[in-house]
Amino acid sequence: MKVTLNWLKNYVDFDWSPEELKERLTLLGLEVEGMGKIGGDFEGVVVAQVITCEKHPNADKLTVCRVNDGQGERQIVCGAKNFQAGDKVPLALPGCTLAGPAGSPPFTIKVGKIRGVDSYGMMCSPKELGLAEDASGLMLLPADARVGQGFAAFLGRAGNDVVYDLEVTPNRPDLNSVIGIAREISALTGNPLKLPGITLPAGAGRVQEAVGVRIEDEEACPRYTARLIRGVKVGPSPDWLKQSLEKVGLRSISNVVDVTNYVMLECGQPLHAFDYHLLQPQAAQALPTIVIRRAGEGEKFTTLDNQERQLTSQMLVIADECRAIALAGVMGGQNSEINEKTVDVLLESAAFKPQSIRATSKKLELRSDASYRFERGSDIGICDWASQRAAQLILETAGGQLAEGVVDAFPRPPQSKEITLRFARTDQLLGVAIPAAEQAGYLRKLELAVVREEASSVTVRVPTWRVDLKREADLIEEVGRLYGVDKIPSTAPKCSAGANEFDAVHDQYAEVRRLLAGLGLDETQGQTLLPETGARLTGKDLVCLQNPLSSDMNVLRPSLLPGLLDALQRNLNRKNGDLALFELGRVFLPGAHGPREGRRLALALTGSRSPLFWTGTEREARLDLHDLKGLIEEFFEQIGIRGVNYVRRAEPTSLYLESAEIQLGKYLLGELGWLQPALARKLDLRDSGLLAELDLDLLLARRNPEKSFKALPAFPSIRRDVAMLVPEEVTHDAVLKLVKQARLQSLETVSLFDVFRGQNVPAGQKSLAYAFIYRHAERTLTDQEVNEAHNRLVEQFKQQLHATVRE
């Protein structure tokens, strides 16, 4: 909603500066989104004429001029070259502030010395005035420009005013009008609201004899008024009317149409004017009748903007007996619009059901100032006042003669609503004691009629324009607004412990994140919405959007991996080649009872294992699967997950070249593997990609974070190493299983320290080297004891794994 300072001042007195008004409106809940001065830009700039022009004594590029500003002569030092004595130019006088070119701060002209010569003002280029980019020289004005005239007036710009662009919240349709805003100012200042007085001439010929009104859908159109003005002369609007509209961004069309728009802006009630003679009566002699009805399904109608539109039976139209003549509350029709030949004007002022207008406007994708207001809720009580006001202004600006009276179809005037405010309740909710009289006073100032006032409460009648006031809390808000929320004292936070089971889970997520960051991984946040093609890579079923923004974002992520791949690609495209990333987030999967949400943890690695360094054989090392697995193992240990199995998948998947399931007993905890090279290539990876994803919900449910102290070993350990050749298919896990089966009491740990293929290892075989640490808790082991146990183990390797043990 745009409104100007001067327009507001027509209805209420206040002496705030423009900035103060902005502040006041904002604190009332009318946020000022923009504020601009109109016509005041060139305050202090006049049309001047150069009389003489001489070289500056101390500077080659400057001239010293004598200039007539209309009041007298003054000396100006100037750097421009494109003028001579006799030229007329804009002159900025000392004290004047120029906005300057866009993007630079305003500057103020001062009296000063330039290279030792006094200068009393500045002659301006178009750029300095913010009029054009041209800064090559002074702006030269036509010879007939009047010396001394204000520059704004010379340009034909209107006088000073300030336009405000206000954000009106949807609950306050009454503020989409100048009077509505003035009423708020009146409530705040206590100065009375001054509504324009209306005195209409008696009129000639009863309007009822010229037009009938029939409402067929009273729910969608609870009120319809019609007035008739005969013999108008349609033409351009007077300047005041034109400027009022143009200042707030409306185009002037003609006096009659401008009046309807002016009154709409003034009081919030949209109006429409028809050319009375374009109404088609049922029969030649019959009374023309306005019918408010639903459109026929598929009915075609051409709106004022020259678009033919196909209507549905849900849409409300204004019609004559033969055809639709307007789309109710949205836009008029071409077949009945005011034109230069119009002599008799039928003026509509009506109320429509907001939902109906909104549905129509949305369906047709047609928005207008009228539909904007109707769909938020118009003031049913103001229809006739607005009609009278418009009739008066049409008579003033377009002449003509009013038909007597009004056709006012208002089948069921709504009951006025009463609400009671308990003063104590206000204090209780706002946290400040506001005296009862003051509370009631605020409501009165807002023109809420007091029906009953008691010691502890007040009951008010809600005026028709305040559609937002429904219950006590709404009145408390009004009291709070006028009292001023800034005056409500802040109270120190009250502390007591809340409770919610998720609180602990939140900390677990934080712990997971900290561990992974500690392991050197950077956290990412991927998009929840993915392209279906990318999400399909995971091989999972998808939850789809019904109304996606685009096919790039049409499904919910079933996994965090597509998002991490996206992060890899973006980084690699930007030459960030070494990446260790993780994300913790939600995924969405279809389920029997609707979509399921779960939390996942995903990891992705590629590139160099360690940061750039200047020596050492390891510095070229690339990340491989064992780096990923090492991270996962360390993470599991720290978070309290034990007994995990890694089971290699026999076949590649669409995502992985080679991968394994991470199993925890009978549960599938996650997966890890090498990214498919074809995918890696598409993502511009230069090194192999490594991915893993874990089911975080399961992981946190199955973790055992309990820690207990074990006594440190008091007796020495004995180490025995085994190096053996085994067939390629023997896994490390198979070795460990065998060790476990042997149930050696004194075996403390077993660690793999070498895997080797190549020289001296037959094809199809590999060499594995293990270190076994033996220790007894209560005494020192003897060599013999250890040898016995160890030899049994070695024997098992030979028999069960077909191992050749290197002695």
């Binding site: 604190l27 809940g29 946020e31 919240t169 949807p170 609950n171 306050r172 907001p354 909104r358 549905a359 209780q428 909710l429 706002l430 946290g431 400040v432 937002d468 219950r471 809390a473 709404d474 408390i476 808000e477 709070g480 929320v485 800034d486 802040s490 109270t491 120190a492 936070p493 502390c495 007591s496 809340g498 919610n500 998720f502 609180d503 900290r514 992974l516 960051a517 050197g520 991984l521 950077d522 956290e523 946040q525 991927g526 998009q527 789809c544 019904q546 109304n547 923004l549 992060a567 973006r570 980084n571 930007r574 990446l579 969405f588 009872h593 609707g594 979509p595 360690s610 940061p611 360094f613």
Partner: protein, 346 residues
């Protein structure tokens, strides 16, 4: 002429000196050969032992052995020292060379900001609550007093799921379209329906709006919601808590302003603007940062709380916005691009 015992002592002293002076392993080995080797001085002393009178032999033998043991020990220590020294670089160390770095991973800036917000609220006794991101119209709109034809429900503005599956406990006849929650306020409803007052929760989480991505919009973003319900909760409490949290988050020099506004689920409702030297440096007087208000009595009625007994406030704000203000980030999309050069900065 020196006695044999004196000779032993002289040789011992010489050996100690030679071991002590050995500057490297080769010199040390030479000293060992000279004194303790097969042809070393102690070996020859041992050979001379046989020529001594019988009564002198035990004392002399003992002395030689003691000296040998002592020298062997010193030799061992000296060897270990020299070996360690030999393993170090011979050139002088350039202490200005870059070190071999171990990099710590970084938490996403949104995580860091969220944790800071959570920490502030927890000081006041708030706990973290959570709810589903796939919501229904009841929790996201109806229960929050959003009018049935409110534009926020439009498929222009809200993402709806395809092929809605009926929720298992849906009341008959109420169509519950599934959607992606547009605000974390839906969790207010879930928590209040589940637990009796008092309530003190904060809810950080992802929310979704059907906006095309640009510098200030992303269809996915994060909000944090605070809800406090108890007896005698006032606007003054709301102001006090908001003051506390924003001073913690944005510094003690911030100033807040409450501005009346409209939300369907609070009454009165306010928007909160803040200003600080940073805001003024950006050329603005105030920056809008959060919405808040006293829980609407209709919302209390919807969840079965008696609005005559309980009052409460709620407020919510965008986490991205706080992070952008705090770090001076100018494009919301950076949070979701995950460029490591961005992530490493926080």
């Amino acid at each position: 002429m020196a006695t044999f015992l004196e000779q032993v002592e002289t040789i011992r002293q010489a050996a100690l000196a030679e071991l002590g002076q050995a500057a490297d392993l080769a010199a040390l080995e030479q000293a060992r050969v000279n004194h303790l080797g097969v042809n070393g001085q102690f070996t020859s002393l041992m050979k001379q032992l046989g020529a001594l009178p019988k009564e002198e032999k035990p004392a002399a033998g003992k002395l030689i052995n003691q000296a040998k043991v002592e020298l062997e020990k010193i030799l061992g220590e000296k060897r270990a020292d020299l070996e360690l020294k030999a393993s170090l670089p011979k050139e002088p160390t350039d202490f200005t060379l870059p070190g071999r770095r171990r990099t710590l991973g970084k938490l996403h800036p949104l995580t860091q900001v969220t944790e800071d917000i959570v920490r502030s609220f927890r000081k006041l006794g708030f706990v973290v609550a959570d709810g589903p991101e796939i919501e229904d119209e009841y929790h996201c709109f109806d229960a929050l007093n959003t009018p049935a034809d409110h534009p926020a429900r439009d498929s222009q503005d809200t993402f709806y799921l395809a092929a809605p599956a009926p929720a298992p406990n849906a009341a008959p006849g109420t169509p519950k379209r599934q959607l992606l929650r547009t605000h974390t306020s839906s969790v207010q409803i879930r928590v209040m329906k589940k637990q009796a007052p008092p309530v003190r929760i904060i809810v950080p989480g992802r929310v979704y709006r059907r906006d095309n991505a640009d510098a200030t919009h992303n269809p996915t973003f994060h909000q944090i919601e605070g809800l406090y319900v108890d007896r005698n909760v006032t606007v003054g409490d709301l102001k006090g808590t908001v003051d506390f949290v924003f001073r913690e988050l944005l510094g003690a020099d911030v100033k807040l302003r409450f501005r009346p506004h409209y939300f369907s689920y609070t009454e009165p409702s306010y928007e909160i603007d803040f200003t600080s030297p940073l805001v003024r440096k950006m050329g603005k007087d105030w920056l809008e940062i959060a919405g808040c208000g006293m829980v609407h009595p209709q919302v209390f009625e919807n969840v079965g709380y008696d609005p005559e007994v309980w009052t409460g406030w709620a407020f919510g704000f965008g986490i991205e916005r706080i992070a952008m203000i705090r770090y001076g980030i100018n494009d919301i999309r950076l949070f979701y691009e995950n460029d490591v050069r961005f992530l490493k900065q926080f």
